[in-house]
Amino acid sequence: MEKERKPKNIFVQGPIAPEKIAQSIANHATKTDIGGHSIFLGQIRADEKPEGKVIAIDYTAYEEMALEKAFEIREAIFAKYPLTCMHIYHSLGEIKVGEICLFVFTSSKHRKAAMQACDELVERIKAELPIWGKEILDMDGHVWKVNT
């Protein structure tokens, strides 16, 4: 019988620790039908803007809507690709340059489904989740991030 999936919290307060990513990989060791994982990690970049250099991004979200939408996206990706597992984590709050703010993890029997699903998930997360990044500058100010 297929397990019923429920909306999960995707939000993490603060940066995503590399140890959490390692632990998440280790947690899949018992799932021996997996043949390939695909991982995307978003990292805060020290962009140079005309107004100053980015030193951190402060993320806020319309959390209730984002979780509903993330669930919808998750279900659609599960329906489209033969995946064993899918995990999404997004940071909230202030994340400094060099730190990880997005962790997307897909697993499948064969690599292609995992890689394509991971790519599509990242694109949909950026385009459809009500999350905003305020870029904090070294010049005592901020600009709102624009996704390209």
């Binding site: 993320y59 319309y62 703010c101 997360i125 459809e128 709102w144």
Partner: protein
């Protein structure tokens, strides 16, 4: 009977209007609400934002029911 709606503002929109939430008399439709907000906050006229009603994106003029939660959403920039 009271017919009010709840407004939530996020990101740059919240910053520009200086508020994250408001209660308003229900103007009836999303277009009427937009016009009312433009009168109250002229800064919104030059901003790009979308509306979500009860957590669903609204792409065309829609009726607002009493108690609706309307969110003002600037372009998303997660990830």
């Amino acid at each position: 009977m009271s017919n009010r709606i709840h407004i939530k503002a996020f990101g740059m929109v919240a910053e520009k209007i200086g508020q994250v939430s408001m209660e308003l008399e229900n103007p009836g439709t999303t277009e009427a609400l937009k016009n009312q907000l433009f009168d109250q906050f002229p800064v919104l006229k030059s901003m790009k934002f979308s509306l979500a009603v009860n957590k669903k994106m609204v792409l065309e003029d829609s009726e607002l029911v009493s108690g609706a939660e309307v969110a003002l959403l600037p372009p998303f920039s997660g990830g």
